[in-house]
Amino acid sequence: MEKRELTCIGCPMGCQITVELEEGEVKSVKGNTCPIGDNYARNEVTHPERTVTSTVLIEGGDKCRLSVKTKSNIPKAKISECMKEIDAVRIKAPVKIGDVVIKDVAGTGVDVVATRNVG
């Protein structure tokens, strides 16, 4: 039996939640005070996901960095691989909000897109 300690981010309460896992399966969730905590904890221990936001190098525009994000959440374990691709990419202005900067980043199926316009 594996035990995982989490802080719920559902609300400012920040319940300390203990999840018991067996072979990757959630056996129990304790410490939460509402269903949000239960749901959060189950997702967080089985497939934690995050949106990654960063900048990429842009050339030929009025800015030297373009802010970007993963269009949706990606697995937490892929953050560092995702950042490697973001750090390496070089793109040319102009770019509009929503333009794809990296397709299928780190094999997640999720695109990295621009979050601002650079002319």
Partner: protein, 421 residues
Amino acid sequence: MKNYDIVIVGGGPAGLAAAVAAKKAGNDSILILERDKELGGILNQCIHNGFGLHTFKEELTGPEYAYRFMEQVFDLNIEYKLNTMVMDISPEKVVTTMNREDGMVEYQAKAVILAMGCRERPRGALNIPGYRPAGIFSAGTAQRLVNIEGYMPGREVVILGSGDIGLIMARRMTLEGAKVKVVAELMPYSGGLKRNIVQCLDDFGIPLKLSHTVVDIEGKERVSAVTIAEVGPDMKPIPGTEERYTCDTLLLSCGLIPENELSKKAGVEMNMITSGPVVNESLETNVPGIFACGNVLHVHDLVDYVSEEAARAGENAAKYAAGQTAATSDKVIKLVATEGARYTVPSTIDVSRMEDLLTVRFRVGAVFKDSYVSVYFDDKQIMHNKKRIMAPGEMEQIILQKKKLEEAGDVQTITIKIEDK
């Protein structure tokens, strides 16, 4: 002198939302004055996500959120001036600006909306002892350097203060390859959102030390080490608890201060607690026709609330400029925050000018669990809402109904307090 109905000082989230609302309320003579080279204010450097859940029901990054409002400003053909500093606002609502192209220009406004935002508390104001080397940045300055200018302020970082910008920068610097060694927070609780503590610190194994502060900064040219120590209930460092961290950078995220230099020049009365203007139900200051909204009024944690508040200021300014504001009555109710509640915005309500529903925002002064927000009309309790948790870092609100106030008759004071039962 040029004339506008409404001059808005600041083109950040508050100024943009105020402008859009004023225009939609029917005013066609609006000018936004922005000192930076683009609209959007501080949101342009807040490239992380988490904005807009209330307003747009989706999670946006700062620049995306700003752009939603900028698009409306463009579509509605609202005038704005960039790279333009407001040098003075007079009580007569003459706004003096300066830029490279026009030099100094005066605008006579019927209504002025203060939307200048806030600034960060610097190291000097914190009285942190030690050397004064390079490598000490407020978190927002570091954020600008990394996100806009594309430079790394340092490689090994200690952060003082667990405000949201500090937490966000802990993650941001980590993702860019820096090592964030510790976040020290003077208070026994964090000033930041839970979600940021988990996703910006816990995700990267960055320790958060509550009730800790910086007691020494080493390094004559560039920061070389920072010593933190635990503080007692009196907030004074406890000898023997010092821990020294070698690092090249100290980021400070120790609070935001509304930027009211111009408001004061205009004769606007200030609230000592918020460091923002004292406003009435219409978000109007003591100077008739000068309104305030956003972080210049009181520091917010969610931009969604800034936009909403600013829209109200915009609508009220449009009404004022059109001469449609109801005359003030002599029946002005005072709002009092006490026993756990620190302040309220607004500070007064004139029932005759009040809308059907009025949002009153306030903050608590400590962490309260399973406590009640109680509202009294004079001595009579009229609201008693249980809250599982309230913290200084999270703005609270109640909604007052005009109908109830009218029914209550001659109310002198509305008191908000936190009660444990």
